[in-house]
Symmetry: C2
Subunit: 324 residues, 2 copies
Amino acid sequence: MRLATRDNGMPDGELVLVSGDGSSCLPAGAQWPNLLGAIERWGEAAPALQDLSVRLAAGEGEPLAPASLRAPLPRSWQWLDGSVFDTHAKLMQVAFGTEPIENARPLMYQGMSDRFLGPCEDVPFLREEDGIDFEGEFGVIVDHVPMGTSAEEAMAHIKLIVQINDWSLRAYAVPEMKTGFGFILAKPACSMAPFAVTPDELGENWQDGRVCLDLLIDWNGERFGSASGREMDVGFHELVAHAATSRDLVAGTIIGSGTVANEAYAEVGSSCISERRAIEIIAEGKPTTGFMRFGDRVQMDAVDIHDRHPFGAIDQQITRGECS
Amino acid sequence: MRLATRDNGMPDGELVLVSGDGSSCLPAGAQWPNLLGAIERWGEAAPALQDLSVRLAAGEGEPLAPASLRAPLPRSWQWLDGSVFDTHAKLMQVAFGTEPIENARPLMYQGMSDRFLGPCEDVPFLREEDGIDFEGEFGVIVDHVPMGTSAEEAMAHIKLIVQINDWSLRAYAVPEMKTGFGFILAKPACSMAPFAVTPDELGENWQDGRVCLDLLIDWNGERFGSASGREMDVGFHELVAHAATSRDLVAGTIIGSGTVANEAYAEVGSSCISERRAIEIIAEGKPTTGFMRFGDRVQMDAVDIHDRHPFGAIDQQITRGECS
């Protein structure tokens, strides 16, 4: 199943089923008005949505207007973002000039979850000098996960998979990391690609808790990266179990992979600017690529070998925000 | 105004006004069913609740059953916890054996906000060896705060003040701090005292964005600490502005002070066990106080010089939780 959230003026939007080609949709209806409510009672919601999905495939849908789409979860109670591509972690140490982080896998921080921007929404920032950067990654949405759930058990709690741009302000990252308290200023709201999909929808590209798809990233119309999610050093099920070590995970919790990165970065490029700057530091002694400027555009789109795009595309411009 | 949330079987509970002596209450009614909804439209809600408050003072209330009370906000979209009592920060470096954190005030992490435990709810933990500790602190609840709001402007966004126990698992704290990514395992759900109060309710004890009250803490019936909130090194308005540097703060965001601590800790004691252990390390070379055991009880209650208890008391036992 592919699910999306249409803008209907409500905080959580309207849940719709989306056809395989993304051209048509069917509202989930009054019983499942939004995705947050559905994930809270997924045991009941999933078969009901599956029935609608069959009707949609039989031609019952209506045209889907891409401009009406918000993030699949426009807000949720919890967002826990991992950082489990080792290549990314190693390059970020070069970019940040920090020491290796030892004995602490998987890395994870809690970020703001009260707002996930829609796939085509403009993104306002106050200052270019904050070091505006994108981070292309994958994420999963779980139902309620009891405290102490094992990684093996956690796999069954992964109900949906999403594609995320974890917007980052690099000027704040190192000072905040040095406190040990994690990121507040460095991590404003993330964006999500339009479609949340059930794991079966990915077929053989969902393997061992990993999204085995290339994440194509274009910055101002030029290809910037095409790294695969396959090289995730810790699976999503392990991230879920880690997060649930000492807390119940509330239904609707979103767990991120961190920036997708591959060992063959020389060939596939990067999923964030900081990483490219690290590669430049290694090769040339200093970074030559600057961070984003107001008006810049970033597109992110995961693709399989049959040229299918399960999550649809993020396509956003950044704008100069205004102070209150 | 004093506000509380009564259990009515709904996720967000039922908002009630509470009398000055805490003995009676008046439901806020169908228009303001819960506090999260009220804080989202505080401009309308505040005068309506004020009217009810007058009626309550005139004797219209019903008896308040303390056992029916949940946290004033049983869940919210965002919980940002500061750590701005310098005495606490210095002692925790001793407790943790970590280096001083430089040039990074105020300290702040984002914690789980999908659940705040009620004042008398049992608190389940899986393992005593995780180093179960309490942290007594104060917090504020804001309405929507636009990105870039100054500290001066932020003061007017502080709508309610609360008292919090920030439960902590010390065994995870240092490894998580060393990642730089902040706390996930070390910070399970917090608890809240029963009453959220408007700043005017504290009178002269709300000064320069600080709660100038002694926070009395008893562990298993023995006085453990009575530190004052007055010595907060950064005011709540400054914490709010800091948090809003690069994000809008969603209405209902709760911002914490971190563990209340005073320079005169030899006289007033501490608001968490770790800090007492640090004091023991300084005095005797090693800690002698252990962390909490299953069945232990902690009470927290802020009191003014007239023996008034604006937030009511937290009174909780910890229990052995079960794995899924």
